[in-house]
């Protein structure tokens, strides 16, 4: 099976997803990969790299170490670094070459933990999957291992944000807008996995009344919190005025009834006239599709270009990842809302509304990424 692209970009990979999810929490994250491979993440996938020091490193894997199975060097280097930097936890990630040689990361994590005395986690990444897969594993690990309940009660229902990384939300300012919207709707700020929150805040994640899942990468972690602490979740980002109002109601309902709701999928799918498509990650695109539909009255569907699960896909949506199939699909659209790097495969007669997505176009259009939280969507005005 070949997966190729003539002209469009590709998404960030699973290792970047892990690094992005864990960036602010004071852990040591090591990608077992060749020297230089960390510059891709640091340059294109991590807007915090220049402004915020974090312990994200690459092992500098060589061919001879891969061929000879010299795992001892990796273990030794990680332990030495951990000794020097005293991280709160350690996470190790695989890349393509260790995947080919069958490196046992669970075993490596166990040895590193034993030697360093620091809790160590293996992420099952191989550089061949999308960032959502990596970030999802990282968030799930946090939910299982570090989230807790202190039994503290708050005056107002507390809401966590789960699945926030710059790859989907770009800037802290957008996360803050979500928290502001929550506060304006009578909720209290919970922890955020994982932009703008300290590691210690995870310890009370289980005391929240609800979790708000803002990307597909946060869904599994939210399910773990539900399973461990009976915290229900709501899936969606409060984009646009109308959807923000509905989402607030869903959060209230979920908290009151202890029942999870996937708000971004409950959309006006329309029938044959549904020719407006939002392209990209399921939760953001689903939320935007719903917001845009509520605002304009038009049915809007989502073309999911990344890995997703059935519960995030509405009946009118499609899952398409390959460029040639996307190009054919776009022929049937009157309007496409997508990252600017999709534009070359959108027909000239189709109305194209650019909306940059950091996980697709990196830092190219970062400055143009709008904060649409609880705001009227005015994509037409932007170019």
């Amino acid at each position: 099976m070949i997966h190729y692209a003539r002209i469009i970009s590709c998404y960030s990979a699973d290792t970047s997803g892990v690094c992005s999810a864990l960036y602010e929490l004071g852990g040591l994250t090591v990608v077992h990969d060749a020297s230089g491979c960390n510059s891709t993440y640091a340059t294109h996938d991590e807007p915090r790299w220049y402004d915020m020091d974090s312990m994200i490193y690459v092992s500098g894997l060589t061919e001879i170490d891969a061929v000879m199975g010299n795992d001892e060097k990796f273990i030794d280097d990680v332990c030495k670094c951990a000794q020097q930097l005293s991280p709160k936890f350690i996470t190790i990630c695989g890349s393509p070459m260790p995947a080919m040689t069958g490196t046992d990361f669970d075993a490596l994590a166990s040895i590193i933990e034993q030697r360093s005395g620091i809790r160590t986690h293996a992420m099952h990444t191989n550089g061949m999957k999308s960032y959502l897969c990596g970030a999802s594993q990282a968030f799930e690990m946090l939910a299982r291992c570090y989230c807790g309940s202190k039994g503290t009660k708050s005056a107002k229902p507390r809401v966590n944000i789960i699945g926030a990384t710059p790859l989907d939300l770009s800037r802290q300012e957008i996360v803050e807008s979500v928290f502001r919207w929550l506060e304006e709707n009578g909720f209290e700020r919970g922890c955020c996995m994982a932009m703008g929150s300290r590691f210690e805040e995870l310890e009370s994640a289980g005391d929240a009344a609800c979790s708000l899942v803002v990307s597909a990468s946060g869904l599994e972690a939210a399910k773990v919190l539900e399973e461990r602490f009976s915290v229900p979740y709501v899936v969606g980002i409060p984009l646009g005025k109308e959807f923000a109002a509905l989402l607030a109601q869903d959060v209230r309902r979920a908290a009151a009834q202890k029942k999870s709701i996937i708000s971004c999928v409950e959309r006006n799918c329309g029938q044959a006239e549904n020719t407006v498509a939002v392209v990209g990650e399921s939760v953001y695109s689903g939320s935007l599709a719903k917001a845009y539909s509520l605002q304009t009255g038009k049915p809007v569907r989502v073309i999911h270009t990344l890995d997703t699960c059935a519960e995030l896909v509405a009946a009118c949506d499609k899952k398409i990842a390959d460029e040639d199939k996307l190009e054919l699909e776009f022929e049937h659209c009157s309007q496409v809302i997508a990252d600017p790097l999709f534009k070359p495969i959108v027909h000239l007669g189709t109305d194209f509304l650019p909306l940059a997505h950091e996980a697709f176009s990196g830092r190219c259009f970062r400055k143009t990424i709008p904060d649409l939280v609880d705001k009227t969507i005015d994509l037409e005005k932007r170019s």
């Binding site: 099976m1 070949i2 997966h3 190729y4 003539r6 970009s9 590709c10 998404y11 960030s12 990979a13 970047s16 960036y23 602010e24 929490l25 004071g26 852990g27 040591l28 990969d33 060749a34 020297s35 960390n38 510059s39 891709t40 640091a42 340059t43 294109h44 790299w49 220049y50 402004d51 915020m52 020091d53 490193y57 690459v58 092992s59 894997l61 060589t62 061919e63 001879i64 891969a66 280097d77 990680v78 670094c81 020097q84 930097l85 005293s86 709160k88 890349s95 393509p96 995947a99 080919m100 191989n126 550089g127 061949m128 999308s130 790097l341 070359p344 176009s361 990196g362 830092r363 190219c364």
Partner: protein
């Protein structure tokens, strides 16, 4: 710097040069990547072939960097890709997938490019992909297209020729054997055009010798005409393998005239060049004197301020440091991970005569926190982006791989850059994060 997520107990890794050992002053270990991005990568270099197109085959994680490099250059119409899945290498279908993907990409192109660079990854080499067979099949399918074997194989960086020398070598593979013109020479493996004021240009033009540079070629045909030159000059060590390959394959004489800041070595370079071409060696004493004067002027402008140099700015940071120190410029820090053989002599000299110079790595894990811990921002004047970043200074000469710095003219230019750097701050954050110095960028 705003925030910090860990690293509170970091111990800095620098050493005094007196304690530094050659060629690796520091232990290897986990690696950090400083946010200085002016260096060129294989995408930038490959795009130097006019009208060429690149296709990358690798895992998504490896693709991301090259695709984003191209997107920032607004050159996505010159790059295609195919990604590998788990099952691809297990099924033994790697060769077929490459051939089929290239065929599909070509079908989707409006016009066939004259040259296609096919990049394979560590995974392909590790799996023993028959690259020759792939190229032969593609050539049989698409006559008139030059297919070039290229490699994105960082895991194999110590297994034979390193990635960048390999890229420079492959960059000239389409050149074919042709009749030589003794009045034509090439500069090989240099990412920019030599400055018009460089005396190398004057020497050649005075003797009626044409200078061809890939960076000046507008068309693929013009690029192919580089095969007519009788001599190839390389000026950076990474290009030497390309020069040697062309000498063996096309009979073009290769001469390595490395970038240098040492007046005697510069003279030696020009003597070698003139000797090879059979042209008279001009009197360069005036240029030499004005270069020396420029350094004195720079020293005056710096008035004792500490200076830091990094290995990415120039290939021989210790040679540059020695020349600067000898001219009254206060070099205090050198950032380098591995010292090249060409720089060993200068390193030993400094070790003996300036033992207090501080040597720092750039990739060592502890360096993550170095910039943030600088007590005195803007204390240093830096030469190079990494030195500027680590020393937290906005006063720096924005220099990567000695761009535009060659011969006595180069010394004058560097001195002028230093003089300006001492007086005029730059937007460090913005400048050093621009990828591929001199390349177009949408940022």
């Amino acid at each position: 710097m705003l925030k910090k997520a860990g690293g509170e107990n970091t111990v800095l890794k620098g050493v005094k040069i007196a304690q530094a050992s050659f060629p690796r002053p520091f232990d290897t270990g986990l690696e950090y990547s400083a946010p200085a991005r002016g260096d060129w990568n294989i995408v930038h270099v490959g795009l130097l072939i006019p009208q060429s197109h690149q296709i990358y085959f690798c895992a998504q994680g490896c693709l991301r960097g090259v695709v984003q490099t191209t997107a920032e250059m607004e050159a996505m119409d010159r790059l295609s890709w195919a990604y590998l899945c788990d099952e691809d290498y297990a099924e033994g279908s790697l060769e077929t997938n490459i051939i089929d993907s290239v065929s599909e990409v070509i079908k989707r192109m409006g016009k066939r490019p004259p040259c296609l660079l096919i990049f394979l990854s560590c995974m392909h080499l590790f799996a023993g992909v028959d690259f020759d067979m792939v190229i032969e099949e593609l050539e049989s399918r698409f006559g008139g297209v030059d297919f070039v074997k290229c490699y994105m194989t960082p895991t194999m960086r110590f297994s034979g020729l390193a990635p960048m020398p390999t890229m420079y070598k492959q960059l000239y593979q389409p050149l074919r054997m042709t009749e030589k013109n003794s009045k034509s020479v090439n500069i090989i493996g240099y990412n920019w055009q030599l400055e018009n004021s460089c005396e190398l240009r004057d020497i050649l033009s005075s003797a009626g010798v044409a200078l061809r540079e890939i960076t000046a070629c507008k068309t693929y045909e013009e690029y192919l005409e580089m095969a007519q030159s009788a001599v190839n000059i390389t000026i950076i060590p990474e290009a030497a393998a390309a020069g040697a390959d062309l000498e063996q394959r096309l009979g073009q004489k290769h001469i390595y005239l490395p970038v240098s800041f040492d007046a005697q070595l510069i003279m030696n370079n020009y003597q070698t060049l003139c000797g090879q071409l059979g042209i008279p060696m001009p009197d360069l004493s005036q240029q030499q004197e004005s270069a020396a004067q420029a350094l004195k002027d720079a020293a005056k402008a710096l008035s004792g301020r500490p200076v830091a140099v990094d290995y990415l700015a120039v290939h021989k940071p210790f040679e540059l440091s020695r020349v600067l120190l000898e001219n009254g410029i206060n070099v205090k820090r050198v950032f380098v991970d591995v010292i090249s053989g060409e720089d060993e002599q200068a390193f030993s000299y400094l070790k003996e005569n300036y033992p207090d110079i501080e040597v720092y790595p750039t990739v060592n894990a502890s360096m993550r926190f170095f910039a943030n811990e600088q007590q005195d921002e803007n204390e240093f004047v830096a030469i190079g982006q990494k030195a500027a970043y680590f020393c937290a200074t906005d006063y720096f000469a924005d220099l990567v791989c000695a761009k535009g710095i060659y011969g006595f003219d180069g010394i004058k230019r560097l001195a002028a850059m230093l003089t300006e750097a001492a007086a005029v701050p730059k937007d460090r954050r913005k400048v050093i994060q621009h990828k591929g110095m001199g390349c177009q960028s949408c940022l």
